[in-house]
Symmetry: C2
Subunit: 418 residues, 2 copies
């Protein structure tokens, strides 16, 4: 578990020590409540990482397949760019972001290496969490931020229910960190030195600059028509030759890049909650947030961002719950928390589910069969008006308006002061 926040009025248990759990904990600490938390894992530098000094303000797409200008060995048709948000591409490494959050959070509230076994509501309305090591904790309110494989989905919806588990998106991800010198040799100076997403039928390859622009952090996504054999094991050994086959028809500068992937590499199966979304994100005062509620594939690179928005909304509402409990004797703790959840659900659910669907949709657009048929290129390129709308909906999200609306809607739910 992640922590227990002991406010004078409500105690909150946060289960999960990833970005969402820590963001939420840090947010609540800023409200002067007491917090416990656990399990900082060393996340590997991944998909959403970017060096702070990267000069790019845009997301860019290029044609991974075209070979129109053979006289220029590095030519790849520029397809589209869209501004990357309020601060441009204001990236950080996930592990460093977690370390920075961790510094805000006092040791005493952290329970390390706990593994949740059961959650039960006691007769006094409090929630009891039992762990696999035989210990237990209590809280008024439980927030699950424990990711795509959240055990609480099983507890909430049942072991034989497809809603309890993420499902295979039929995409396999292959990752590599490639030195900039090698990337420039393969792709040319401009394309290598700027973030690009290369699209082609049934595959795309995206990279971000990391480590002070000395490396590109590359992920190739390849469509897999088969079922995934075992959803407990989503990372399996693979070979660069698998990738070479998928990219054989690509622009030659691109196939040169593939040579810098390791000969033996990992195949990551991409899972999400698209096919069986949860009908509700709570069971009484036990809430799901982030990937535990709505696990997205990574094609927007925005799944953690959406979870942080969830955390911001929850922090805002918990602050309101505390204020209303102090000032209004006509409302019980449980009523206040349930009112907050109704507002949270109305504010956040559609955006979380939209992201899951939208990530699938942009992957379909990146992987259009039309990219390999010159007669269809104009048609294929019209997809970027839609991709622009979807990208801006993510990067230009009005979080001030979200917080303001949440506060207003919560106030409407309260009984008049007595």
């Amino acid at each position: 578990m992640s922590g227990v926040i002991e406010d004078t009025l409500i105690e909150i248990a946060i289960v999960g020590g990833g970005i969402i759990g820590l963001s939420l904990t840090a947010g609540l600490i800023k409200q002067n409540v007491n917090v416990k938390r656990s399990q900082i894992r060393g996340f590997r530098s991944d998909f959403s990482n970017l060096d702070d000094n990267d000069p790019n303000d845009n997301l860019r797409w290029v044609h991974g397949y075209n070979k129109r200008k053979k006289e220029d060995p590095f030519y790849q048709q520029a397809l589209f760019k869209v501004d990357a948000g309020y601060h441009g591409f204001d990236g950080t490494r996930r592990d460093r972001f977690l370390e920075a959050l961790d510094k805000i959070i006092p040791r005493r509230i952290v329970e390390l290496k706990k593994r949740l076994d059961t959650i039960e509501k006691k007769s006094d309305g409090r929630i009891q969490l039992k762990f696999t090591d035989g210990t237990w904790a209590e809280a008024d309110f439980v927030i699950r931020t424990d990711g795509i494989k959240s055990r609480v989905r099983e507890l909430m919806f049942g072991l034989d229910n497809p809603i309890s588990f993420p499902h295979y998106t039929h995409q396999i991800a292959y990752r590599a960190l490639i030195p900039m010198t090698k990337a420039i040799q393969a792709l040319g100076e401009y394309i290598a030195r700027n973030q690009h997403n290369h699209v082609e039928p049934n595959a795309n390859l995206i990279y971000y600059l990391v480590e002070n622009q000395t490396m590109i952090n590359t992920t190739a996504f390849v469509f897999d028509p088969n079922e995934w054999p075992d959803d407990k094991v989503i990372v399996v050994p693979g070979l660069r030759t698998d990738l070479e086959k998928a990219f054989a028809q690509w622009n030659p500068c691109f196939t040169a890049l593939i040579q810098h992937f390791p000969e033996k590499l990992e195949k990551w199966a991409v899972f999400d909650t698209c096919d069986y979304p949860a009908p509700h994100f709570n069971q009484g005062v036990i809430y799901l947030t982030g990937d535990a509620a709505h696990a997205s594939s990574p094609h927007h690179g925005a799944s953690a961002c959406c979870g942080i928005e969830d955390a911001l909304c929850l922090c805002t509402l918990i602050d309101q719950v505390n204020c209303s409990l102090r000032g209004n004797s006509a409302i019980t703790k449980e009523e206040a928390l349930c009112a907050a959840f109704i507002v949270f659900d109305a504010t956040r659910r559609t955006r979380g589910q939209w992201l899951v669907n939208s990530s699938r949709r942009v992957c379909d657009l990146y992987h259009q069969p039309e990219w390999s048929d010159e007669k269809k290129w104009i048609k294929a390129e019209t997809c970027f008006e839609e991709i622009k709308d979807r990208s801006l909906k993510i990067s230009h999200f009005d979080y001030d308006a979200m917080m303001k609306t949440a506060v207003q809607e919560y106030a409407k739910m309260l009984p008049a002061k007595v």
Copy 2:
């Protein structure tokens, strides 16, 4: 052809006498230029019609397939609603809208029943239009608003080019005007008396209230896996029994409604420009606008609206061309018109093409196979967050911002005054 606008500085020929041609002509007349125009056809009351007194401010979707509440014979699950724009559902009959526009336009500028044969640029830069009756006209600038089968696409892109022709969307539309009393018997009071779009696998049925709410104007769209045999004949005789087969699995109140379609009815094949969009919407000073440029299927009910936005943008720019020719001797007529077109294209092309794609996309979402599988209903319903965004992008379009941007961008294109 539609008309020739004889300004003191530029003459504009508008080819096409539909909503876009008339809107454009009427807009230019307001700028005190002289206009000619032709061919008012009596349009049938169709898909986009609505009675002015309709109280609805929303678009609504209901489940056409579910049978969850057998105790209530009229039950259809309400799925979603979204506000229908600045003025709510501010509808009118297409023929009456055309009549109203026609009253603004003086007879003397109209050339009736002309059929364009060729367009050529003369050595003095003027455009000569030859008609099939042997007559001809000249102008500085030609705007084609002659719809999905625009002859000018053939002239612009060539007879053997798929870009020159609209293509089959694999949807067949069946239409009927049904008296309100019959609609209420079949659907119940509330659903019949409000605009609704009923969705199910591979089909949807939409209606609007017309004739002072005494009738519903109904269109059923049914997926057709086959190719359409002859793109010159897009309306062929059909039978109600075809429709009964497609809707056999629907909610029974719905199959009751089908009984009020005529026994013999027309099958309308739906064509659009989605698969082969035009790479450019002009050839020098000959422009395509509206469906001639970007013909959309009718699933957003917004194809004519988008063409009227085109007309508004063009009127705004032509006004600027006139102003700049009066005030700036450093620019020629052709340079000014070409600058205006570059701005028009940058302002309008992506929106027109987006609408074509978006109409196809919402049809796919309306026709999701998931509607017939109860385990997939939650997934199916998540589509409405996307449908909301698409609907609002149409109905809440900021035309003031469009005009302002067009004026600013045109000013940037002009050489400094000498």
